[in-house]
Symmetry: C2
Subunit: 173 residues, 2 copies
Amino acid sequence: MADRKNDFQKEEQVFLEHLQKAGLKRTAQRDLILEIFLRTEEHLSSEDLYWLVQKQDQSVGHTTVYRTLKLLTEAGLAREVRFGDGKTYYEHHYNHEHHDHMICTECGKVIEFFSPELEALQDAMAEKFGFKLTHHNLRILGVCSDCGKMESELYSAASGALPRVRVVSGKTK
Amino acid sequence: MADRKNDFQKEEQVFLEHLQKAGLKRTAQRDLILEIFLRTEEHLSSEDLYWLVQKQDQSVGHTTVYRTLKLLTEAGLAREVRFGDGKTYYEHHYNHEHHDHMICTECGKVIEFFSPELEALQDAMAEKFGFKLTHHNLRILGVCSDCGKMESELYSAASGALPRVRVVSGKTK
DNA sequence: CCTATAATTGAGATTTTCATTCAAAAGAAA
DNA sequence: TTTCTTTTGAATGAAAATCTCAATTATAGG
């Protein structure tokens, strides 16, 4: 645990500004929750984050973590995502490019990907119907190459212009 | 309530075949639930369908409707969809082309649309990552032209090559 | 440094959805 | 009919999301 307290100045400022605008107060709990959220580059449920916070401050309760995540979402720092297991997860939103999720229904692995073509097509689609698009949400469900026991050759062969991607997690069920 | 009992022969046969294959029995409740489901071209939650069924047969319980919807899904007659409000809805699947949803966050209106380009792009994306795609799920959230008080001119002007579409519902919140 | 005011906190309870249990009822087959 | 198996539905359970309220804490103004 080295000293890295000032890594998230921007995000903290966004949060403070949001609190101010909404007439809310800055508290130690909210600071702690924000910090731990920012330090954790994973999809977190409110429950997940609660346990991480517990490790540092036993006195913080479920409710506060839950409410603070809602606040972070309002402030534009977090984004709610659902993967179909009934739970709501949160991921970083500020300074993180929009991306979609590809989910393996076997191992639960989640791949984040970004496709400008898909984005453009969705924007165009929204415009065609007169929708003012606020955001969209694409989940591709399937079986990943590991689980499908496909040759990884297929993967590398087809990956000429592979979009930006990050493999996030393989949840064990 | 005119006599239209034999409108869904194909679907009924699909269901009966599924029951047979799975070693399950045909019952009056399942027949009734299937019939009402087929007659209702809307997104229905288990609860919604339960109340529709109740109107015709007070003795049918939640559990049976819930389980029958699962059966219909297995049989390929229904599809589960989630719109992010925590509830699970079911829509017709048999003889209904795949489509995605555009949802108005103001009035809750749901537009079903189909875009071959989007489909193709998603398929390609799945292939690039070695995913064997089972299905995908795209929700575009925004504000519809009615709620955004935009000119409907925009809509009709831009609708030169408008994809197939069906406005399903405007749920009042 | 106080005090007053308003917001926050967190344990617990409630709500909502999804899923299971089990005894009674009903279908299927001989 | 008789026997065997599946279905049914009320009740219950489990899990997540949300709310309640009394006690606590932050903040601004004296």
